[in-house]
Symmetry: D2
Subunit: 408 residues, 4 copies
């Protein structure tokens, strides 16, 4: 029914060996300008400033999520037999397209714009884009169903669980991929084993008890990747500085500074209105970096200095905050030395528990199919998960300030 390619296309991939594509609609989506743009957006925001090889793109990750979704619907018997052909295509396309709405350096960039990346992803899929046309050519209802999987409203909850549950294609790909490209081992877990032990029961994906150890390992992998990579103080320093830089640009905009006339790259994003998919399409990491290159040459000393720091990796130092006093003292010292604390001091806090099932939120839970046929939430089956749920969460509160403040 759905058009197949004349022969299977395979793309070499270090994580999955090969990415296999045999549907015309997937191939057309991959070749669309919106998906190709993801080659110009790095997967890991500022982490390349800590792990110098973490330069992989959201394009590669998107292919990986598609590939895991494809393997799920083809290799897990319960899914192969219960999902319709259209549902299978929907979930594979959702895997490929779930990150379309991201801007450069993701979270920092979102802080400037009012639109969230989830909303932008939805618009790209539903409005008149190459991706949209590719989906429609395959099946007119596909854009709506793909968008519904991505924003969690699809009536078949298994499709949602496959792309954004606790054991989903998105996280499984990014943990393995980020581990490979950073060169750490923390993110490794046994994907094969997990895929082999997934079943469908009570309209949801569950893991057989014999795969529970692999899930425990996956949860620990995720915990370690958070603290060693995603929450690394240097990553967060870079991202904090991006946010400060955009805050300065917004300020210049409010002052109608002529500087921004010569550096129009960011303008659409500084007006406080939502941007269009076309404006979004033009904004990638190349544009952003070239914007900083222009900015470092501009006459505003703060914007110029922050842009230089970002490009040359002259990043802010950080330290843990234990008392209000610390922050106050730093603020005073900065003012004393002539630095504006609005742009040279910032604070952020991260907090995480490795596994945390929330009452009433099925998507936050992992389900285990016990040997006796019963189904339990993970922390009722695993002594490890139980310990983690009842233990404390870990948090880290830091302030960031110029390296120069450390010199005496």
């Amino acid at each position: 029914m759905f058009e197949k390619l004349s022969e299977v296309k395979v793309l070499r991939d270090p994580i999955h060996g090969y990415i296999h594509v045999d549907l015309q609609v997937i191939w057309d989506c991959i070749n669309s300008r919106e998906v190709q743009r993801l080659k110009r957006i790095r997967q890991l925001g500022g982490a390349f400033q800590v792990y110098h090889t973490a330069e992989h793109s959201r394009f590669a990750h998107s292919l990986g999520v598609y590939e895991i979704a494809r393997r799920m619907v083809e290799e897990i018997r319960d899914l192969r037999q219960t999902l319709s052909e259209e549902e299978k295509i929907t979930v594979m396309a959702a895997g490929l397209l779930h990150d379309l709405g991201h801007g450069p350096f993701s979270h920092a960039f979102e802080s400037v714009t009012t639109a969230k990346h989830e909303e932008m992803t939805r618009r790209i899929i539903l409005e008149d884009t190459e991706v949209h046309r590719a989906l429609v050519r395959c099946c007119p209802s596909l854009p709506e169903s793909v968008a519904a999987v991505i924003d969690h409203t699809h009536p078949n909850k298994i499709l949602v669980q496959m792309i954004s549950g606790q054991l989903d294609a998105d996280r499984m790909d990014y943990l393995l991929r980020d581990a490979y490209f950073t060169g750490t081992k923390y993110g490794e877990f046994d994907l094969e084993r997990i895929l082999r032990t997934i079943r469908v029961r009570d309209h949801k994906m569950v893991v057989k008890e014999s795969g529970m150890h692999s899930v425990e390992d996956y949860i620990m992998a995720r915990y370690h990747m958070y603290w060693q990579v995603y929450f690394h103080p240097v990553s967060r320093s870079f991202e904090s500085m991006l946010a400060l830089t955009f805050a300065r640009l917004k300020q210049l905009r409010q002052q109608h500074s002529p500087i921004l006339d010569q550096i129009p790259i960011f303008n659409a994003f500084l007006e406080g209105k939502s941007v269009s998919p076309h404006e979004h399409f033009l904004m990638d990491e190349s544009a952003c970096n070239y914007g900083f290159t222009l900015l470092r040459q501009c006459t505003d000393p703060i914007a110029s200095d922050l842009a230089r720091r970002l490009l040359d990796r002259d990043l802010f130092q950080s330290c843990e905050i234990h008392t209000e006093k610390q922050l106050e003292t730093m603020r005073e010292r900065l003012i004393e030395k002539g630095w504006d604390p609005a742009y040279y001091l910032t604070v952020d806090e991260v907090r995480q528990r490795p596994y945390q099932p929330y009452q009433g939120n099925e998507n936050s839970m992992v389900w285990v199919l016990m040997e006796d046929g019963s189904i339990r939430e993970l922390s009722e089956a695993s002594v490890i998960a139980a310990a983690l749920v009842h233990g404390e969460s870990k948090n880290d509160l830091r302030m960031y300030y110029p390296r120069e403040m450390e010199k005496r």
Copy 2:
């Protein structure tokens, strides 16, 4: 002072890249008949019956422990600078020699003999053996000091901690090695990072806070290896059957059965007296397996049947025991069908907590050097370790019986 080889010998090793040997005494020990014998003893007892590639020997593991000990004393500055040359040689030799006293299939075999492997190791090092002579040639006090490290009585507790603490060369090698040779990923952790973050403080090895995540990962690796490999029901089935076979042999011995005159291989071990290092030397897995080959052809139906099952992998089934009744029922069914429960029914229980520091036992603890210079026991520094210490331990109680009992 201590004799060096004219050039460094290197042995290819998949875990460490190369094993490096530049001391004459280490080279002589490696080439001694007692260490070479370890090539004929598998590292993992019955696990090769589950993981068909788990066929690596205690010889390879012993080289690996030596290599990690060597790297510790050469690459960890605090150890390199504080240990004397003799202490360094002592700990490297202890790493190489710590498993000398093992018999075939380790724990099952120990159940027959009265001597424990620790005691046999001590005798091999201290009595007149090739290993002993190699150590004495280097330094007359070396046998005593090496034996003291292995049996935890050495006055320098750091040497003991390096070979049998919580983060010791022995465990670090076997986790990595067993993971590699089983083909699982559970046992992997970041050895490089742990070695890089070890320091010496208060006369003990501690890990810098920046390496704490790697230690958490190591602890989880250990936990998973226990349950997925060492405590796998099939491994335990094989080992239980070994114990039953030896129990049968002991019984035959007590009955002065003429069978054992034709199969003298095991005799020295069935008399209830302690064996000599020479008798121990002759008993390896080749002898044991060939003994089973003879036994399968003998006239005692139970010994012959058990030996056949061991050789042909016709292993006992197992199931978890929840009630006394289950065991009783199985016993009755066995008797009904003409099987002697003394040799066809057995029970074992395993229990484990990933990390458990015991009051008053320093060796059970991992110490963390915090950024502020203080030293904390791991579960006071890590929310993961704290959760695990306060969570439940995991246990598994099983009975084993012939496969034939499952057929109806």
Copy 3:
């Protein structure tokens, strides 16, 4: 038609991830005593004396050959569509069973017995064994067809090519496996790519031009493994000494020495008659090693000394021979010192060309399917292969003698 298991069995394997078994006949063969015996025969003869982790068994290799054969018939479309179900089972079983006839330490051991391992493999498959009965239960003609694939007489030449051609499941598994277990990288090549580019044309397996580079890489991998592992002088020293030991045993046998009455293990093999499959079954590496343990304690000084050297790795030295004179001089020096050159001096030569297609022997050739649809022999398509075919072959002629002869 052919009985399937109720659920697919999977065996963890470091080379292939998992070995997949879904046919009853394959599962029964794996569980037969003849295949289980291969756990007691190492894959690599004496190489574990150079690469201390090369301790993997022929059992693991046999599973690997089966797995590659299974993937070939299931994943290569041209094979999946043209082979009958019986042919598919035949070739998978042939992969699993092709090594059954091997004795311990393979080639050295064959030098004692008159039967060749190919002939013994054939007898085990065709005579009354557990393996034979498992094959017959599946299909009465299976033993004959499996044996025909193994001895190259099967009418469908593709089946022969799959198990013992130039790009066969046997070599592809052993190169990858031996590389993994020695810890070298020489044997690595891109199995996935080769499998993906195999087609069937003109009743033979060919490789698409786009996979030719992977084949070149495979040929170089094979070349390097030969010289770095299989032909390593230390491996050859160990194997030469095995042959000398067996020669001594034969001599003792001819002299009706009473020694062999106390060490009957080898007797069946010393009589010059062909051994039965049952006698063959009893002879494994455990028996052989235990035989050496007894031999080292016997009263014949030569047999005892050689056995000790084998067990304790006190191996002969070797050097390249360039002139007849060298050999003569060594012989004279040995006699002078009281060593019998018949047992303390031996010579062997190895010679190899990485790729050598022989006229009239289709099995010696690799065929390439060019983009224009024509088929060429590899050296007509690849400048690398052409260079190797027309270049010189490499050879190495060595003599082996006791280490003691080197001391002055």
Copy 4:
């Protein structure tokens, strides 16, 4: 004498485990804006259009070359003992800095500018830059000596050989790194073994005969990487189209087109004069890609179309050329359909022999130290190398044209 850091800095790297830095001058160079710029230049030009994960930067490669150079001077005894401290720093810095002069997409970009990257590298090291100042702070003669190593004029030829010989740090890093990031296995070889077998004889680096097999493997790895990655038709298509795009820009420049006033990014490079280090500094892949983003919106239909194709990966098809006629026919068909062949048809040829020592060019040779102490050029010691030198070279001549020409 030369300033050390207070503690060794380590950077996680998937190829080398860690990059180790303990010299202040190396740390300062890494943190210079010129070296940081290399984060914005991909290592592999257009190969990311074939291998979607080949997105690693020249920054990561530069660290890797430094690390191999560091290991050479610290771990190879002959180098450690014969090179002076200043020579060691010189060669490590040369490894780190050898690629500074590269523009975006390397070779394609060079075709526009008159300056070659070697010349630009030299200027950046010798003129007033952050890198230059860091070198001078360490030692005033360092810029000159580093530049001399890079442009092959340094009096100590071993330093030149280490960075740009046949077995140099540059190639060894890029083969391993490119293999890792493309996910292919072709580029793997045994770096450890090669480093372990390097010696210095007759004022040059030689490899011991026992490492010769690793060198053969390295040469084959290089050959395969060339044809599978660097010369892949899709990489070459992307790079050909870059050259056509720049050709179009030059044409617009010559016509004084007003388009370039609005897109000034490339102007400095289109004037036919040599650019300054500062202009070079501003031109990275971000600038280039953003330039294409502007260009796709411009009014010149050819420039706009080519820019769109580059950004959206709508690349030219290619086919091998066997006759002049093919090219002529394509040219005519293009004109007929209204495409300008000057911008829509291009030809390139690649040619390579895996190993080719040139008379009189010592740097083109690998030297082998034979067991008898003599030194031979590789092809006189290795039957593999000899075969390759005397075999044919491989070449590939292709034309590239729009995909649309294939549709009928």
